[in-house]
Symmetry: C2
Subunit: 150 residues, 2 copies
DNA sequence: CCGTAATTGATAATCATTCTCGATATAGTA
DNA sequence: TACTATATCGAGAATGATTATCAATTACGG
């Protein structure tokens, strides 16, 4: 079985687990988010689905992403300096380090970071559901580029 | 001297410190963000400025906020479930705990939290400029409300 | 395999944000 | 205080991402 089919099946399983009705569009979108580390934009997702031979409209992409967000399967990242939202599979909590120059997004899995939610709960009395941490800076490559142009 | 005038002067000083040209609109907008704990939306800021007897257009509010963001004086928070951005004076780093029911935003000043940026820098090699942490949950009051309706 | 409720998708509508550009106000200097 | 270059202001138009519409299609429990 090719890798592509495996991830489609994994996505289908995940949809069933979360009691979300399975459709080809949803399977492809979720499998893309589960396996890529692209943190894709709406447009990238739209092109990916069509590029893989499935019909889809922008409305469906928006609807599907909202559904996945509501089920805490993915999160929305306000990351792209072009004003486009980016999306990420988020079953395993992590945070994002974003290059303000090239818009690259790097995942960081850090156990220390997970303590922040508990602290927030203690400090405020809120019942915490989730949280989002984003760090902005220059990636090593862009630091080099800027040095060379100076 | 009344409090209102003091905060206008404090805002003027801050603008001068950051070498931002001073205008009445900028002074009022910054003083509002410096003193209120509203985390106001664009619309709230617009109404506040006009309500205090200053002329202003929406374009100026947007321009001014972008200018203050670029100078790291304030940040933009994707917080309001109505899809409106919210703004906050951010000279002293802190994070936000947001009620998903009533949209209330609570500031938390926590020294532990500040370490996250350093960790991110070490993990990724990025040159970090700033970061943003948002926690989503239910505030104590909304927890009560929901209990009563159950 | 059927019936029903949910989903899809082409298009239109919405609305927050950005752009335009003439009018106006500011900072710096003397 | 007056002058001048320069930047900002602001009303309305333009933009463009997102949402709504609704008929046709599809998924899936029984």
């Amino acid at each position: 079985m090719v890798q592509e089919q495996k991830t489609l099946l994994a996505a289908a399983d995940k949809l069933k687990e979360y009691k979300i009705k399975n459709t080809p569009q949803r399977q492809v979108i979720l499998s893309y988010l589960m396996t890529s580390h692209d943190h894709p934009s709406i447009e990238m997702i739209f092109n990916y689905v069509r590029g893989n031979g499935f019909s889809v409209s922008l409305a469906t992409v928006y609807n599907t992403l909202q559904l996945l967000i509501d089920n805490n399967l993915i999160i929305e990242i306000a990351a792209d300096s072009g004003g486009h939202m980016r999306y990420d599979y988020f079953e395993v909590p992590h945070y994002h380090v974003i290059c303000v120059n090239c818009n690259r997004i790097v995942d960081v899995f850090d156990d220390e970071y997970k303590k922040n939610e508990k602290n927030a709960q203690l400090e405020t009395g809120f019942q915490v559901f989730n949280s989002q941490y984003e760090v902005y800076g220059l990636c090593p490559e862009c630091q080099e580029k800027i040095k060379q142009n100076a």
